[in-house]
Amino acid sequence: MNITENTEAQRLSFWERLYLPEIVRGLSITLRQMFKPKFTRQYPEERWEPLGSYRGRPVLVLDEDGERCVACGLCSRVCPALAIEVQAGETEREKERYPVKFEINMLRCIYCGFCEEVCPEEAIVMSKDYELVFEEREAAILDKEQLLVPIAQLQDRLEFLRRYK
């Protein structure tokens, strides 16, 4: 194909080639938008509350008798990004074991939710927490204390899981 056959000048119509009418048209679109309702959020002041289906930072459920996790390690096994480490320990409670150490490397986590799906105790769930900023790599490895969240804050997600999982 000859390159000179399809130049911009050939594709544009006469009015378009005049340039000024097009500028006016563009400005009029902008002007019209200025009087329409705004969708932009004033983020730090104005926060978004995700729905129960949102997959944010994975957290451990803390219910009335303490953590639910039995440190079975299935989340760690299923995690495609090798983000989770669990070390089990023995307890006198009926469930026999509890996590001595539970760490999630948030730099590795891909928010796939497999950990939540595989958990036999409904002990790890995806929270609504999407504000994840770390100043150093070590701080991105969350330990058990940082991961435990009271069950009251996770009702939406647990409800969602009960209904759709």
């Binding site: 039995v70 440190a71 079975c72 390690g73 299935l74 760690s76 096994r77 090798l82 480490e85 089990a88 320990g89 023995e90 469930k95 026999e96 074991r97 760490e103 490397n105 036999p120 105790e121 490895i141």
Partner: protein, 591 residues
């Protein structure tokens, strides 16, 4: 020999074997829980039910044929258990026929009725026969919705074993092990019906020296190790084949490692050496020293000050020290815990580099440790190898017993200890080390001897090196590195855990501390080169190749053959004993 057919495969089997033995020796699988090749046949789990038949015969004795010319098989009206049915000529066995499959599914459903299904908190999960068979032979759902029977849980049976009655499927393997192998008959079934459980005899404790073997023997997680309990899931560990260094038996073991730390040892089948077992002592005491109290790098002690050195600086320092003394003022002490490779390097170092006749190694004997099953009086794993390689004083040279005296009179001025804790063995030797002008030590741990060293070099433990031990039966057996050091990687492969295969160097939980240490032959080679030799080994296998070329007893052996034949007896390198057939073990599918 009788010819039988299992699932359409014709097998020639010696008379007297049972169907299940015939199947497994030929690589066919029949599901089972209570049968174990090393125990008597109990026949109580009913998992190995198979359909057995014989060719139908006419009245004149000739086989009846169908329209395609195949013999017509008359199957017995009831299914037979493969573990207790001896083979007979012409027998036809079907393990996958609709009736056999229905029986397997029924048995699985029956066993799972009262099994708690607490796999997520069970240590056996991942290597559990019941779990594995639930996938292969069960229907995948349960029709049982009543309350499960509750039985005693977390019952302490002895110092090392803990019992969970609810998980137990009542196969009686542990009872038979206690009666037949450990010879401590303290276990028995009690109660009837679905309340059956296993109990200890009143006042008794399950504390025999082999008690922990019931943990592997148990097809489910009813018996777990008190030492290991909940330390890791099975799939998180990488298992490396190795040899237990606890005594001269050289039991074949698997080393379970996670995060570069040994978490447990378990026996590995070798019917020539340890069968399926190992002793509790070996299992519990032979890994701690790899994980803790380790010497790292090289250390120089002069007049009360300690100074870390680079390897090369340390070798220079040692070479300078060795040049200062006459050959017969130097005493070399080897160890029955070193591998054949390291001992070969040491013997060569003594004979060709230092030219000293003073070379000896201490025996470590414990008559109270000995028993008739596996444990040996000789607590060194490689005494046979050391003697074969020639770690002994030349005629007229200084022996270990004479050492304290010779040091006192100044006839021995430099003591070079290789991987042995001589100071821990006797106070006289400890004093000799203190009195000697110069003490050079290769040590893996901070022992009494390491504390008295003037120059200390860190060496690998048995779990970090590649090498061979020669056991009391003169069998040379191979060890592979199970723990990575700063300089040596492990062998990658399917036996590695997912974390070890895919973890990155900066993941905290996949790459535990790697120690700065080297195998003894590496140290000796570096020093020998400084002293003018031209040794040129690049890996342990090179050392072994030289050793097997020069010592007739080791002739014909290679690492590959040692691995294939599960060890080779000295002198039989060219015609090793065949491995007894049992082709069904994987890490998951235990016998």
């Amino acid at each position: 020999m009788p010819v039988i057919t299992i699932d359409g495969q014709r097998l020639e089997v010696p008379a007297g074997k049972t169907i299940i033995e015939a199947a497994y020796e030929n690589g066919l699988q029949i599901p089972h829980f209570c049968w174990h090749p090393a125990l008597s046949v109990a026949g109580n789990c009913r998992m190995c039910l198979v359909e057995v038949g014989f060719p139908k015969r006419r009245s004149d004795g000739s086989p009846e044929l169908d329209e395609r010319g195949e013999p017509v098989i008359a199957y017995l009206p009831k299914l037979q258990i493969a573990c207790a049915t001896p083979v007979a000529d012409g027998m036809v066995v079907r393990t996958k026929s609709p009736r056999a499959v229905a029986a397997q599914e029924a048995v699985m459903e029956f066993l799972l009725i009262n099994h708690p299904l607490d796999c997520p908190i069970c240590d056996e999960a991942g290597q559990c026969k019941l779990q594995e068979y639930a996938f292969r032979y069960s229907r995948g759902f349960s029709r049982f919705d009543e309350e499960k029977v509750h039985k005693p849980k977390r019952v302490v049976w002895g110092p090392n074993v803990i019992f969970d009655g609810e998980r137990c499927i009542l196969c009686s393997r542990c009872i038979r092990f206690a009666n037949e192998v450990a010879r401590q008959p303290v276990l028995t079934f009690v109660e009837r019906n679905d309340h059956v459980t296993i109990e200890l005899a009143p006042g008794a404790e399950f504390d025999n020296p082999y008690s922990m073997n019931v943990i592997e023997l148990c097809p489910v997680g009813a018996l777990t190790s008190r030492d290991f309990r909940f330390r890791a899931r099975v799939w998180e560990m990488s298992f490396t084949d190795s040899i237990c260094p606890g005594c001269a038996r050289g039991c074949n073991i698997k080393i379970g490692v996670r995060n570069n730390e040994i978490l447990r040892l378990e026996p590995r089948r070798n019917l020539h050496v340890n069968g399926y077992w190992m002793c509790d002592e070996g299992r519990l005491t032979q890994y701690g020293f790899v994980n803790t109290n380790r010497v790292e790098g090289a250390l120089l002690r002069t007049g009360g000050t300690e100074q870390g050195l680079s390897w090369d600086a340390a070798y220079e320092e040692i070479a300078r020290a060795l040049r200062r003394y006459k050959p017969n003022e130097i005493m070399l002490i080897g160890s029955g815990r070193s591998t054949n490779e390291d001992l070969w390097a040491l013997a060569k170092f003594a004979r060709t580099v230092l030219k000293t006749p003073n070379l000896d190694f201490p025996r470590r004997e414990d008559p109270y440790f000995e028993d008739e099953l596996l444990r040996c009086r000789d607590r060194n794993p490689n005494t046979t190898g050391a003697l074969e390689i020639g770690i002994r004083p030349a005629p007229g040279a200084v022996t270990l017993a004479q050492l304290p005296e010779k040091v006192r009179y100044g006839q021995i001025r430099l003591i070079y200890v290789v991987e042995e804790d001589v100071a821990g063995l006797s106070p006289a030797l400890a004093r000799a080390l203190e009195e000697a002008e110069m003490v050079i030590v290769h040590a893996s741990n901070h022992t009494e001897t390491a504390r008295r060293a003037h120059i200390l070099l860190a060496t690998t433990t048995y779990a970090e090196l590649e090498g061979t031990y020669t056991n009391i039966q003169r069998r040379v057996q191979l060890l592979r590195p199970a723990v990575a050091t700063a300089e040596r990687e492990r062998y990658q492969g399917l036996q590695m855990s997912r974390w070890d295969k895919f973890g990155a160097w900066n993941d905290r939980w996949t790459h535990g501390p790697r120690r700065r240490c080297r195998q003894t032959w590496q140290h000796l080679q570096a020093i020998a080169r400084l002293l003018g030799s031209s040794w040129n080994w690049r890996k342990s296998e090179d050392v072994f190749r030289e050793l097997s070329a020069e010592l007739p007893a080791f002739a014909g052996m290679t690492y590959e053959l040692l691995e294939v034949y599960q060890g080779i007896v000295l002198g039989k390198g060219r015609n090793p004993d065949p491995v007894p057939p049992m082709r069904y073990e994987s890490h998951v599918l235990k016998p």
